[in-house]
Amino acid sequence: MGRKKKKQMKPWCWYCNRDFDDEKILIQHQKAKHFKCHICHKKLYTGPGLAIHCMQVHKETIDGVPNAIPGRTDIELEIYGMEGIPEKDMEERRRVLEQKTQENQKKRQNQDDSDEDDEDEEAGPSFQQPASTVPPQPAYAPMTQPGMAPVPAPGMPHGSYSGMPPMMPGVPPMMPGMPPVMPGMHPGMMPMSGMMPPTHGMPPMMPGMPPGIPPPMGHHPGLPHMAQALPTTTRPAMPATTVSTPQPSVSKPLFPSAGQVQQAGSGVAVSASAPPSAAPKPTFPAYNQSSTAAAANPSSTVAKPGTPVTSKPATLTTTSATSKLIHPDEDISLEELRAQLPRYQCKSPSAGQAHISSPPVAAMGGVLPPQQGIPAQQPGVRHPMQGPYGAPPQAVPGYVPGGMPPYGQAPPMVPPYQAAPPRPAIGMRPPVMSPGGRY
């Protein structure tokens, strides 16, 4: 009993005062009796964990730890096994235990045949196993693997973290002192699981990453111009100066979803090393190609490292058994993809055309110049705008803050197509068919 180490007594449960031989058993007991969700029976790891689970998943609040004795029901105390037990409760326990042993001894003295009791007593304490670090580890082991995967998947343009050192130096920082500080992880995990609504199983992995990942954000010594960019005057909002602590090795922040893992890694890593300029050229496929590729199932080409063919691996890799990215294959933005279409090509060679020089095709109004009087913006004057074209787009009755004539009497903003048969290009909905006239 409590001879040398402070915590060196038989493991006991703070919530219900029961004794156990082994901390492992104690933890199993806690998970089953105190940290088990009454709604779905999921076993959590701590009291706060259970509270958060019930809130997020079932939208229910719980007031206390289930099956706990009065006075020990605090749901906010983070206790795991023997860790986290408040000191005063530990002392109280020790006192109680001592009292009990004293009582026993007294009784024994009073009794004649007490030898057996003595033996039992002494045998007890010697069974204590620290073993406190053992149980937790397996629980977290699964976290490490997926965690490691992304590390070599840096895609860091600055070769300094080319994914080589990754694993080793990478891992410890990612799980900063995990085993010893397990309960400490939980606060880190739980709150963040709020952001991951979907799964139960996932949260432990995801949130595990961020705390441990010191993204080397912008701490690259290799970019001297940054330093120069900082004038000597102090800038309260951007107290850059000596940027913060230099980041340790770990490179890639990211936590992949279960599926992404390696493929994303290899793809990104390779493509990142290629000179960025190489990418744009091939990635503007002919218009048709993009359209077929888009709907087609992206899972085909998967990891084509290095070859910046038409599609960069980055978008493709996320198609896995568990997830699918709803995005066309090409790695260009949706707007760039869309802007390539003929119907969205600009009506006039706007290069250098300052001011509004009413391009012939510009706005709808352009079709019937005389009646409308004015093609686009120019006039902006009060313009009756009756024309067959309805009141369309023109900049209508001026803008006078504070109540105005509603947009142009007219009809709807939706220029009725009936008007004006000859309608080379409208800008609104150019009929895709007509070629040419648009440019």
């Binding site: 709150p191 963040m192 709020g194 609504p197 979907p198 799964t199 995801m206 961020p210 010191p214 993204p215 954000m217 970019l223 111009h225 940054m226 960019a229 004038p231 800038r235 909002a237 951007m238 850059a240 913060s244 980041q247 922040p253 936590f255 992949p256 979803s257 990418a279 888009a294 709907a295 978008t315 568990t322 997830s323 699918k324 990215l325 709803i326 066309p328 260009i332 933005s333 949706l334 869309r338 279409l341 290069a351 250098g352 509004i356 391009p359 913006q377 902006g380 004057v381 787009p393 023109q394 900049a395 209508v396 803050p401 504070g402 105005m404 947009y407 709807p412 903003m413 800008g427 609104m428």
Partner: protein
């Protein structure tokens, strides 16, 4: 304040003419429909600044137009005016005094629209489509910042045809945000650059992306003292990164969260991951809204690291969103964003802009 009278009344009734006869999935949240929406996908929305009375909303679209509506306190929207570019409009912003609206387009120009005279004048020229436009108001200068696919970031005094400054970027500009004295630009190939705008704009730091996929949208957030302190970055992979510029503990303070994904708990079917199309921060509460290709919007509290609300699914992706200056109105646009390629584009499909009362739903969750 411009609180909406009745959400119920206007929601489904809307303009009356169109749509509610069929299924209601175009407006499952029963929010107010803005009248006379553009005829093609809406690319950007912006509310007027607090310096002018009332709420005016401008929205740019792929129909080459930018429209302005007045949003009245009872929820009525009145179309006010419209201007055209010769190519799709990709971004809009207001000047700080609310008298001008700036528009950026695929036609490689940016225009300044004087609302009082309803005249526009070109104020910028790039060699490629201009993707972002922001007004910068510094103590010693004011200008327009334009980010383009020609890989340059240019700053313009609206009175001169030549840029005051031109900064080279590593890649095409995909999205940007400005909260003086900080500007953030996210580019193709996952580039991320922070600029400081004091005295004159200059590159402050290049940041390694916290995300593994193409950057799509970015929004700066402020600290309790209203100073810009970090930004939220969204990618095409249903994920947003919250990143502080100089946090005390980067490993703990910076984080990412998943969003805009289809049912994740059901592991039998592969999860669909949608792009985050836009992020906006509530001007008062500091909580944020994200809208995605899945046709939903979500509200989040980044400090409590929890989700506040997710909407029902609209039948089209949500392409843009913004809050009005006092945070009472949340506007979001429902239109096709090209996330499924060319095949799913239906030019006949109506595009919508909805307005929602945001006063209550974006209150931060009390931290435990």
């Amino acid at each position: 304040m411009s609180l909406f009278g009745t959400n119920t009344g206007f929601g489904s009734a809307g303009t009356g003419v169109f749509g509610t006869a069929t299924t209601d999935s175009h407006n499952p949240m029963k929010d107010v429909e803005v009248t006379s929406p553009p005829d093609d996908s809406i690319s950007c929305l912006a509310f007027s600044p607090p310096t002018m009375p009332g709420n005016f909303l401008v929205g740019g679209s792929w129909a080459n137009d930018v429209r302005c509506w007045e949003v009245q306190d009872n929820g009525q929207t009145v179309p006010k005016a419209q201007q055209m570019h010769t190519g799709p409009v990709l971004d809009v912003c207001w000047s700080d005094d609310g008298s001008k609206v700036f528009t950026a387009s695929c036609d490689k120009t940016a225009k300044m629209w004087d609302l009082n005279s309803n005249q526009t004048i070109q104020i910028a020229q790039h060699e490629g489509p201009i993707k972002t436009i922001h007004w910068i108001k510094a103590p010693n200068y004011s200008c327009i910042m334009t980010g383009s696919w020609d890989k340059t970031l240019k700053f313009w005094d609206t009175r001169s045809p030549n840029p005051m400054m031109s900064l080279q970027m590593p890649e095409r500009c995909y999205c940007a945000d400005v909260v003086y004295p900080m500007a953030v630009v996210a580019t193709a190939e996952r580039g991320l650059i922070v600029y400081q705008l004091e005295n004159q704009p200059s590159e402050f730091r290049r940041i390694d992306s916290p995300l593994k996929h193409q950057h799509r949208c970015v929004a700066i957030f402020k600290d309790k003292q209203s100073k810009p302190t970090g930004f939220a970055l969204g990618s095409i992979e249903g994920r947003v990164a919250i990143h502080y510029i100089n946090p005390p503990n980067p490993a703990k303070d910076n984080f990412t969260f998943k969003c805009h994904r289809s049912n994740g708990t059901n592991t039998a079917t592969p999860q669909d991951i949608y792009a985050v199309n836009a992020i906006s921060f509530h001007p008062v509460h500091g909580t944020l809204a994200t809208v995605g290709s899945d046709g939903r919007f979500s509200f989040w509290d980044k400090d409590a690291r929890t989700k506040l609300k997710t909407s029902e699914q609209l039948d089209q992706p949500i392409t843009a969103c913004c809050f009005n200056n006092n945070g009472n109105i949340f506007a979001y646009a429902s239109s096709y964003d090209w996330s499924k390629g060319h095949e799913y584009y239906n030019p006949q499909k109506k595009n919508y802009i909805f307005l929602r009362n945001a006063a209550e739903e974006l209150k931060p969750r009390n931290k435990k």
